[in-house]
Each structure stands twice: as C-alpha cells, then as structure tokens.
Symmetry: C2
Subunit: 500 residues, 2 copies
C-alpha cells in the first residue's frame, strides 16, 4: 500500500514539476563530463599531451603517455567482443595459454627489425634484463620451443607494449590488446592456413561490424613476381614494403617511391604495376597458371599451386564470397614465409581489422636444429572496440552491470529485512542490488532502476512485511503486483526467463 | 560400412596386441615430460633458479625469474575459477574496469612503506618515469580520484608485480593475479562492509575448496585495546604488526617480540595477551560491551558499536556460521581504518585465501581536499589455482578444449568433404575439429577423440558419401549409427543437449 501511495505521489509530482529528484540513489557510472579524456574521439590528442590533471597536491594525476583506463562501459563492450571471439576459437578446438608480460630482453632481440627501438625495457634493478612483450607471436614461439611441443593450436588474448608515438599513429595506443590464434605443427599443406582464414571470416561475421573482405596473397608469389619483373634480389624486401603501402597510397606514389627513393628500374616498376592491380578468386589462380613467364619461376609456381589448394579448401568452407586473392597485399613483417592475409571492412577507412600468415622459421630461432611450422592470425580488437564504442554511444550507451532486481524499501529503515531479501535472491543466483542507506529515498531507488536498466524491483514496506508479501515492480511497464514471500524467488526466476 | 570394418579390425587388434597406435592424430597438449618446471610442486625452487634451458644457440630459453607461463591445463582451471568469482561479483551488481599495467612512478610512491623496494621500475627511455603496478588498490584509488567519482562498485582481475624473492616466500611469484572487489562511496555504516564479507563467503562457497572461516576485527578496537593495555601511542603500529603474526607464531613468541625486540612493558603485553585470545560472534560483542575498562576508550567503543551493526547485517545475510570476530586479527597494511577481515581454510596450512577491509583515506591522497571512503576485498586466486590444480592432477587432469565433435575420415583423402562437414557443424555452433592431414589414419583419429575427451565423432567414408549419410559415433560407449546428411546437425545438437 505504501508503495502505491508513493508511486501515485511520484506521478503527481512528475506531472506537475517534470522529473523529480534527478540524482539516482547510487551512481556507479562516471559522469559524462568526468570521463577520461581518452574516451572522446580526439583520443590521440589526449594521449599525446603530457599534461594531466594536477590534484593540487603537487603531482599530476594521469595514466602514462599512450595508455588509458577502460571504464565500465568500455569494459562491457570489451567483454562482449572477447566472448564472441573466444567462442569462435573454442568452436575450432583451440586451447589457450598465458605468458608473462615481460620476457628476457634477449628473447625479443632481433625479432622486430627497426621496430625494436619501440620495445619497453625494464630498469636494471639487479638480476635479469627484461622487456615488456611487443607482441604475442614471439612469446608463443618461445613457449613452443621451450616446452618442445610438436603441435599446439592456441589462442592468446592479452595486452602488448610499444613505445610508439601515439600522436603519429591515429587510434594507436602504447598499451593495447592483441587477440591471436595460431596453429603450430607439421601438417599437410594449406589445411591449417585455410582454417585461419575461416576463423577470421567467422569472427568478423559474428562481431557484426559490417561487410568485410579477407585479402589473401602468398610470399612466394610476391618473391617470384619481383624476380620476373626484374627486381634485384637484395631489393625484394624494400620493394615489398613499398607494395605494402598500396592500401593507403595510389599506385603512382608507390611507383615513385620504388623508382626515386629505392632506385628501382622504371620498367621493372611498371611490370610490378600490372601485377599488383590483379585481384580475384580461383579465376586469378587460373590466370596466373597461364602466365608462362611467371610460372617459369619456381617460387611463383609453388605459391600459385598453394593458392589453388587453399581456394579449394575455402570453397569447401563456403567462404569464397568473403575472400579476395589480391596481388597487392604484401604485409609488413619479415617473418612470413607463405600465405598472408588481411581483413578490411568494405567502405570503411579504418585500416585492416585482422591479419596474419604463415611463419615457418620463427620457432626454429628458439630451438636450434628443429623448427615447427606455424600459421596464425591476429584480430585487431582495438579497432573493433572503437567501432562498437561509437555504435554504443550513438545508441545511448550500454549497461555496465547485469543487475536483474533492486531490493527497495518503501519507507525508512527495514535494513535487516532488505538484506535478508537480497540475500535470498543472491542464493537463487538472481543478480540483485540493495541501496547502502538506512533511509533510502523510495523515488531515488526507483530511478536507479530506470537509469541502470534494472528490469525489476522487489519492494518492501511495513505493511508488506506484516502481510508476508513482496511487491514486484516491472521497471519498464511500471506494472506491479504482490507476491507471497515464499513465491518471490520462483516468480522472479520465471519473469527473468530462468528455468524452474 | 568401411567404418564398421575398420572398427572390427581395431577391436581384433586390440584384443590380440593390446592398445594399437598410441600416437593421437593430433596432439595439442604439452606432453607431461615437457611441461614447464613451474608446474610441478617444487614451484619455488624452479622459480628461484636462474638456470634455464640452453637451446644450443647461445642463449637461455626461460621465463624471467619469478614468472611462469600458464599452460592450457592451468588456463582451463583459471577460467573456471574466474567464471565463478566474476559470477558472484556480477550477482552483486558490480562493474569492472581495467587500468594500465604501469603507472607513473610517483603514483605508487609512498603507498607501500618498506615494500616500495619491491616495485618494478621501467627503464628511463626518455619521457615519464614508470613502474609496474604493485597491486590493484592504488590504481583503483587513482582512477576514482582522477575521474572525480563519488561512487563506484567495481571488480578488477589482473596481474600485479612484486620483485620479491620468490625463494623466500613459498608459492609466491613475482607476477601474479589479484582479484579485487571494492565499494567506493559515502554510505551508511557497515552496509558495504557487510556485503564484502558476504561476497567472500559466497565466493569461497562457490569455489568448493573446503570449509573456511572469515575472521573479522576492527582497527579501532585494536587501537583502543592497545591504549587500555598501556601501549604508548607511538608503538601502536609496531605492536599491531607483532599481533599480525599470531596466525603463524605462538603467543609466547609474539609476546617475546613485543617485550624484547619492541621494548613493551611486560604487563602491557600480558594484558594484550588476554584480549587476543578472544574470538566469537555477537557473544564477544556483548562481552566487550560489558568491559568497562575497554569501553572507556572512545576508539574501542566506536569499534565495538560498528561490530554490533556488522553482526546484525551478517545475521540478516545468514552467514554467522562462516564468520568469527577475532581479536587476534591485525592485517599488515597501514591504510586500513575500520573493519578488517581475512578468510582462512579450516585445517589447511595455506595462509589466508582472501582478505581486505575499510580504507577511508587512500583516495584522498590523490584528490586533495576531498576523499571517498572505500571498503574492499582481494581474493587470493593464486592459492585457489594451486589447490584446484593439485585436485585436477589427482583426478587425471582437466579437458583443455571444449571440442564436441571430431570429423573423421574412414579412409584416405575426402579432405574437401570433411572440411564441408566440419564447416556445417561450426555454422551450427557445434565445437568441432578435423585432422589437418589428407590421409589421416582412422584409428589415430578415434584415439584422439578418446584421449581428448571429445564425446562424438562424425565419420565419413566413400560409401557413406554415396548413401548421403554420416556415421555418428559415441566415443565413450563406442555405439554408432548412420544419420542422413540433413539430420546430422539436429541429431548432434540433440545428443549434446542443445535446444532445437
């Protein structure tokens, strides 16, 4: 009855004065204006500045340059994304491992070429020289070698560290998540490779972030192509890294870089130009098979043969519509030895959203004498987060808790009764909250439900307690009804769609 | 038919020769003898040594001192543990955040007393001075202050870093998980505090790691007790840290430390001795309320009053049987200001498995002028992992994948057919694997199912393909039956207990 009276009063007040009591009973979300700067679109700027907030105590209150906190809303999105991605990995029978955040410095030495300067070193405090991990691939190779594994299909989701200039690379942080899936082991050609492409396709489909295409190429085709176009062998890598820029630069500019900066014969550049325009599917495989000039090169021939096998398997997987054999795809990393791939969103200028390839020699660096061939893929989850965060903002935010029921008092006090009720709900695995106030305002508690998206309230007042009932209130519809004490749990479970 | 013939053959061979073909088709688990040293009971020894495996390439193949990899089996256990713990946090309406693995060095400075020497610093590579986080509490306080939050109920599960000597502290690593739950905000006395104790109780119950007790005390009672026993105020802290050793040392030894090392009047020590022997529940609250000497001290009076309120709420939560008001509980950290608690397993010598308390002044250090009272609890998950890993070993290990179906060929080849079938299963969200071999041995594939605990196999042979059927085989019972192609998915889903 108290409840009814109070709700009637609330309605009256709302009609008269507009919304009453804007303050929620509990505010567990950072206020908009208080959010960390990194949250806003001008991310890079914020990350770039060394200025933080001075707390008046003489020191600066901030996270380190290029790093950020994840607030509850970002974490809720992150959790959804990881759940989907891990779901795909598990669907494919993958195990998972974790490695230390730091490695011996020498473990990382010589693995990243010029980028080695971006590695974070730990201070020498006596003992080993340590560095923060730069990616998850080198620790994976170290793990496989150290444990003398012959086979491993694992995923690894964790943060990695690069002392990049966060101002120079948009949306790039110095501390960011990687989400890797790799298959180590000696297997028949292209089967694990095809599964990696299939996994990318499944993940991007499940994430519902828009239409995508997985570009695929083969390092041996690139090498063969460079050879038959007349690139001197010592220039393969530098020309390859110029080709790698075709996703951001026009051919004319890439050609210029090849000829003017890298000293390539213009005729060779033009021959490359005719190849890198080619893209397709099995039709392109067949076209290249007809290219006698290219096929005269052993490397190219092996690569094209591998692509035919791969496309047979991709056809069996029924994902030909999401892949493109693209001769302009080069990928920056040196360690790739076979197929390479990169997924991009169609019509979006966000860069690649996943990428990987085969690297058969990396484990061998750690286990002299034997090596274990590997193929893998890394999902660019930070870009996925950005897309989904923007979507969430546009849709009015996401819930940051999963609370199903708020135990509410219709009047002052009743603390022990409320705690006993919420305890009963917890015991029944119903996600529930109660205000931490002896005399919580009824309207504040109701508004906390509305604001936090808590679907039901369980309301107690003196008269309800006397009658041995609880009032269940639906937050959205404002419907409410009395339920005898011993039926509260089954009724709420039924309302929440739980099995009896 | 091929399937039947092969299985009959296998049976015959097994009867004649014992188990045939011990090698599984795919081995994704590290072999027992290849497991990292850290896995075995002699953990500390392994972590302590600076020796690693030399790969013959002139450098040492190991993880940094005091750190370790988590292998798939450890990760499977870790995932189960986190799922249960996070389930409890979410049941209580908690949000989650993540903070960078490093903080500005000055953020950590002056927060850990003598232990500050254990902080890992990053090298000075130009820019800010950074340190790895030492716990999750200081980053939490920094986050609350930086975002000017008035309220936050959050959990945070992440690794922290301490340059401790891993040899000195058994089972202690330099990189280890913490699992924290904290409530920040100005609320009525003891309500959030009671919820923290309730959460410890729920988590330890859900983890099923044995009978436990949550010891509870109050800093103000300790201070009051010291005062009325005649401890000079400047000795409160050092005497408190002596009391803290009562869980590992006999009273006689603690008394000796107080008197001989810390110069306490023996009569004062004896008076303390009579108090720290006391433990109980509401009966102890009442006993202390009758202690006129103690009640004459304002601090003790406030503390005892708070304990009465707390025990009222713990009674409402119905967890009086798992808590003990224990005057010998002191807790090491300086920053506690109110209730403190620590959970221990009854009859197990593993030390505390959870602990926490109220710290009302920490946020204020980061936000001069205002502070936000906090109370929280940290679950000692590494100890939980150890207990559950030992249990798993005793029970023959845990599954490291969730694979439900292995797509198997009954004869050579059939790669495209197998890939098409496994792809159909993935599309139906059935967790499935296929061997990465063109000519996988049938028996090896069957044995992979047995070894990895994959409950079903979907078997394809030429004749099955011709008939348009798949043979479904139950790994445990070895029963098998033919299913038409278009009924494979619904039949498997039904067998796996999925809803249609």
């Amino acid at each position: 009855e108290e409840v009814d009276k109070l709700l009637a009063l609330k309605k009256e007040l709302e009609t008269t004065y507009g919304v009453v009591d804007k303050k929620p009973a509990k505010e567990t979300k950072p206020k908009k204006e208080d959010k960390p700067k990194e949250k806003k679109p001008k991310d890079d700027k914020a990350a770039e500045t060394e200025d933080g907030e001075n707390n008046g105590g003489g020191f600066v209150l901030k996270t380190p340059k290029g790093s950020r906190d994840y607030d509850p809303e970002q974490m809720a999105i992150r959790e959804q994304v990881f759940k989907k991605i891990v779901g795909v990995f598990k669907r494919h029978g993958a195990e998972t491992i974790e490695t230390p955040v730091f490695e011996l410095k020498e473990t990382l030495t010589g693995k990243y070429g010029e980028d080695s300067k971006l590695i974070y070193d730990l201070a020498d405090q006596g003992g080993e020289q340590l560095s923060l991990r730069y990616d998850l691939t080198v620790p994976f190779a170290r793990y496989v070698a150290m444990n003398k594994l012959k086979q491993l299909k694992r995923y690894h989701i964790a943060r990695v560290y690069r002392r990049d200039n966060p101002a120079m690379t948009r949306g790039r942080y110095r501390e960011f998540y990687q989400c890797d899936f790799d298959i180590a082991g000696e297997y028949d050609p292209m089967i694990p490779d095809a599964e990696c492409v299939k996994i990318v396709s499944e993940i991007l489909t499940d994430l519902e972030i828009g239409k995508f295409v997985v570009k695929i190429n083969h390092r041996k085709i690139l090498d063969g192509m460079f050879a038959v176009c007349g690139v001197p062998e010592e220039k393969f890598r530098t020309i390859c890294s110029a080709v790698d820029k075709l996703d951001k630069m026009a051919w004319e500019d890439v050609r210029k870089e090849m000829v003017e900066e890298k000293g390539l014969d213009p005729a060779a550049a033009d021959r490359i130009g005719t190849y890198v325009k080619l893209a397709g599917g099995m039709d392109l495989v067949e076209k290249l098979e007809q290219d006698a000039n290219l096929m005269a090169n052993k490397s190219a021939q092996d690569g094209v043969k591998a692509m035919r096998t791969l496309f047979d398997y991709l056809a069996a997987f029924n994902i030909l519509d999401t892949v493109s054999f693209d001769l302009s795809l080069a990928r920056g990393l040196d360690y790739y030895t076979g197929v390479i791939y990169e997924a991009v969103l169609v019509g979006a200028e966000v860069g690649s959203i996943a990428g990987g390839g085969r690297y058969d020699d990396l484990v061998g660096i750690f286990s002299k004498g034997t090596t274990i061939p590997c193929v893998g893929v890394s999902i660019g989850v930070e870009r996925v987060f950005s897309i989904l965060e923007a979507r969430a903002r546009a849709n009015g935010g996401v819930r940051t808790t999963e609370t199903e029921v708020m135990v509410i008092s219709a009047q002052k006090g009743l603390m022990a009764e409320r705690l006993a009720l919420v305890s009963k709900l917890w015991a029944a695995n119903i996600k529930s909250e109660v205000a931490y106030k002896l005399n919580a305002k009824f309207l504040s508690q109701i508004q906390h439900c509305e604001k936090s998206g808590i679907p039901y309230a369980a309301v107690l007042g003196e008269s309800e307690i006397k009658k041995g009932v609880v009032v269940i209130r639906n937050t959205a519809t404002k419907e409410q009804f009395e339920v005898p004490n011993d039926e509260v749990v089954p009724r709420l479970r039924a309302l929440l769609g739980r099995s009896a």
